[in-house]
């Protein structure tokens, strides 16, 4: 996001003094300093969801873990992004995500280019402790250009937010509760029947796993590009497509 002022809020992240913007999130400030915090639902250019809880951090004088994406910096805040306890929390979250769906990397279109797979590797998930749920979920291949495979969906809502906030179509939503939560198109229609869909493909670009993919992709062929949304939002804020001369 473009900023006109210099960052002027001092915070301490992992012992480093960092200057943050007044309304900035801990995640964003850490990113600018090159301090890596694992995340899955966070997507630059869209609103904060805070659902995956992978970016939780320890904040001094607060008794609970805070999501770095949804926590705004305050002056002299002290943040720890790594600890044995945090590592274990994140690892367990990743295992729960893997156990909840049907994630079989070896035969997934996004094998080798999947954020969930990368996270599992980063967090040292070499096996999954919770029982696999093996849910029975049907693939929606009704759209002429794209495929939705709910077996691979982690309910991060990147697609929901991108479609609503960036494309302005709001095709996607979550339905159901708890373990029954699932992604729906246009209030529960087959994607191919959803009249709001503009076929823009932004939801596919931002999907962190192989849940949303280009149709016809074979195993390991899908490549997503979440940075597309950050570029679009930033360009929109800066009026990249506006005739600036006419505005004067």
């Amino acid at each position: 996001m473009a900023r006109r002022q210099r960052p002027n809020v001092p915070v301490v992240i992992d012992g480093h003094e960092v200057m943050a913007y007044p309304d900035e999130s801990v995640l964003s400030a850490a990113d600018r300093e090159g301090i890596r915090i694992p995340r899955l639902c966070a997507l630059e250019g869209t609103s904060v969801h805070g659902g995956c809880r992978l970016c939780v951090v320890e904040v001094a004088e607060r008794h609970k873990l805070m999501p770095a994406c949804g926590t705004t910096v305050v002056e002299d805040m002290e943040v720890r992004t790594r600890s044995r306890s945090l590592d274990e929390h994140r690892k367990l979250i990743c295992e729960l995500l893997l156990a909840e769906g049907n994630h079989v990397c070896a035969v997934c279109v996004s094998n080798g280019a999947c954020e969930l797979q990368d996270l599992a590797e980063e967090l040292g998930v070499d096996h999954v402790r919770p029982d696999y749920q093996f849910p029975r979920r049907s693939v929606d291949a009704s759209h002429p250009k794209y495929t939705f495979d709910p077996n691979r969906c982690v309910l991060c809502t990147r697609c929901v937010r991108t479609c609503a906030e960036v494309e302005g179509a709001h095709v996607w939503d979550l339905a159901g509760r708890a373990s029954g939560s699932h992604l729906i198109a246009d209030l529960g229609q087959e994607w191919g029947e959803a009249p709001s869909c503009t076929w823009c493909g932004k939801c596919v670009a931002v999907c962190p796993t192989g849940a949303l993919a280009w149709k016809g992709k074979a195993v390991g062929e899908m490549r997503h590009d979440p940075s597309l949304v950050a570029f679009l939002s930033s360009a929109r804020e800066q009026g990249e497509w506006v005739d600036r001369e006419a505005l004067r």
Binding site: A106, V107, S138, V139, T147, G216, A218, V219, G220
Partner: protein, 480 residues
């Protein structure tokens, strides 16, 4: 009263199985059965998946011959898309299948069967394995391992990985082959060919002095033989049409397209094995036994149905082969011999392909939505004819899968083979270790891949049991 011997697990094969021998009190064999004891159920778990994912998904059936599944599956996908794939893709697919034949046959011959063939069926079991062979004939093993490596590298260049590649896709192949990759493959054909010629000459010399009893008793019976042939009757491994010949060499069926396989082949199930028993429908009729429709596939069958290889050295070797076996080879022991000939033919065919300028053409993939409800893909896997039969819904999601695997085709023949070996070598309730090994070697001649054939997982331990008529197991040999 009779005894039952059980060999459990059967070793040096791919998968998990056991053999049961039932003996009468006088020591004669009353029954011999080959049981496959593992199960995976790929046909079920593929349901609902997009057909484009099927090649890489079904390739996971097997770590030895994933290429065969990639090809049959991709060909079924081509049919569902109703496309004619680019010529470069055809050439790449042919190349990768030749690499597969080389590596799999090298594994079967050098790693799994050479201990029996070169050290002897009655050699000390402690030494009768690839490590024992390394100690006595290190150069043979070294060259065998390098031959297999050559096949694996061909596979890696085309499919992206040595095992479970992903670049064979419905509509063609994912990436063009580069000139450097073609040159790399070309560097190694000479060594691979010389290794094959040397081991072939060695094996042919052994046939003069050894294995007479094995040739006579290792599945030496008349049966039908099924395989693909090219338009002029030549040896074929990727395209072509099905041909069936009988033990006299009479062509029983010819020019049969793969999608008609169900009209010709029935599939019987067995209560004591996860492996199905396909049979030739015409020979069985409506009320006959599947045993009447016994047929064999694989290297032996491919050489029986084909008139020639179409390459110089392999055709010369084929003449020598037929001088020994007759026009139609009926002994399953000759699978080993046929395998070596196929390796030679595959290397020569690779040399021919590398000279084709279209091999590196950048057009490698046709793209299309599903345009047909059913697709049947067939290829010649190292172990024999492989069918993948898919049905899809209007969006291209799989609604039904049937896979007929080479080892399945040979199931009845393998059962008949162990019965034949048991009859020839067992005389009394005490079954010596050398005889148990012959039983295993009889199965091993087919190079069965039980992980594929039951679409199941695992290495192949092998058990033999000897059981009394009242069901009591009197002898059990187990190898893990």
């Amino acid at each position: 009263m009779h005894n039952t011997h059980v060999i459990d697990p059967v070793t040096r094969i791919e998968g998990h199985a056991k053999i049961t021998l039932e003996l009468q009190d006088d020591g004669t064999v009353s029954d011999a059965r080959f049981h496959v004891t593992e199960f995976r159920g790929f046909e079920e778990l593929c349901g609902g998946r997009p057909f484009q994912e099927m090649p890489a998904l079904t390739a996971r059936t097997c770590g030895i011959c994933p290429v065969s599944h990639l090809l049959a599956s991709a060909k079924a996908g081509d049919q569902i898309m109703s496309v004619a794939i680019p010529r470069a893709a055809v050439l790449q697919r042919r190349l990768v299948n030749l690499g597969q034949i080389i590596q799999s046959h090298a594994l079967s011959f050098f790693h799994l069967s050479a201990p029996d063939l070169l050290l002897g069926m009655d050699a000390d079991p402690e030494q009768r394995n690839v490590f024992g062979l390394m100690a006595s004939e290190p150069e043979v093993v070294r060259r065998g391992i390098r031959l297999r490596q050559f096949g694996q590298e061909v596979i890696e260049k085309v499919s992206g990985r040595k095992i479970h590649g992903h670049q064979i896709v419905p509509g063609g192949v994912a990436e063009p082959l580069t000139d450097d990759e073609v040159i790399d493959i070309g560097y190694r054909t000479g060594e691979a060919k010389q290794t094959t010629l040397d081991v072939l000459a060695h094996f042919e010399s052994l046939l003069v002095t050894r294995f007479r009893k094995e040739i006579a008793s290792f599945g030496n019976f008349p049966s039908l033989f099924l395989g693909h042939v090219g338009p002029d009757g030549r040896w074929e491994h990727y395209d072509g049409a099905l041909r069936v010949v009988d033990a006299d060499g009479t062509i029983v069926a010819d020019d049969v397209e793969a999608h008609r396989y169900k009209e010709l082949l029935g599939e019987a199930t067995n209560a004591d094995s996860y492996l199905k028993s396909p049979y030739w429908r015409d020979a069985v009729g409506e009320h006959g036994s599947p045993w009447d429709g016994i047929y064999r596939v694989g290297p032996l069958a491919r050489l029986n149905v084909a008139t020639h290889f179409g390459t110089t050295l392999a055709d010369a070797a084929l003449q020598r082969y037929r001088a020994r076996t007759g026009e139609i080879a009926t002994s399953s022991f000759h699978y080993h011999y046929a395998r070596l000939l196929e390796v030679l033919a595959a290397i020569e065919a690779i040399e021919g392909l590398l000279g084709d300028p279209d091999l590196t053409d950048p057009f490698t993939r046709a793209e299309a939505n599903p345009n047909r409800r059913r697709g049947v893909g067939a290829s010649e896997a190292p172990r024999g004819t492989l069918f993948h039969d898919y049905e899809v819904d209007g969006h291209g999601l799989i609604t039904a899968v049937n896979m007929v695997i080479a080892t399945g085709h040979n199931n009845l023949a393998m059962n008949k083979t162990i019965r034949e070996i048991a009859d020839a070598h067992i005389d009394g309730p005490d079954v010596p270790e050398g005889t148990l090994n012959r039983l295993e070697a009889g199965i091993r001649a087919y190079d069965p891949c039980l992980s594929c054939s039951t679409h199941a997982l695992g290495q192949m331990p092998f058990d033999v049991q000897v059981v009394r008529p009242d069901g009591e197991v009197v002898t059990e040999l187990r190898r893990d």
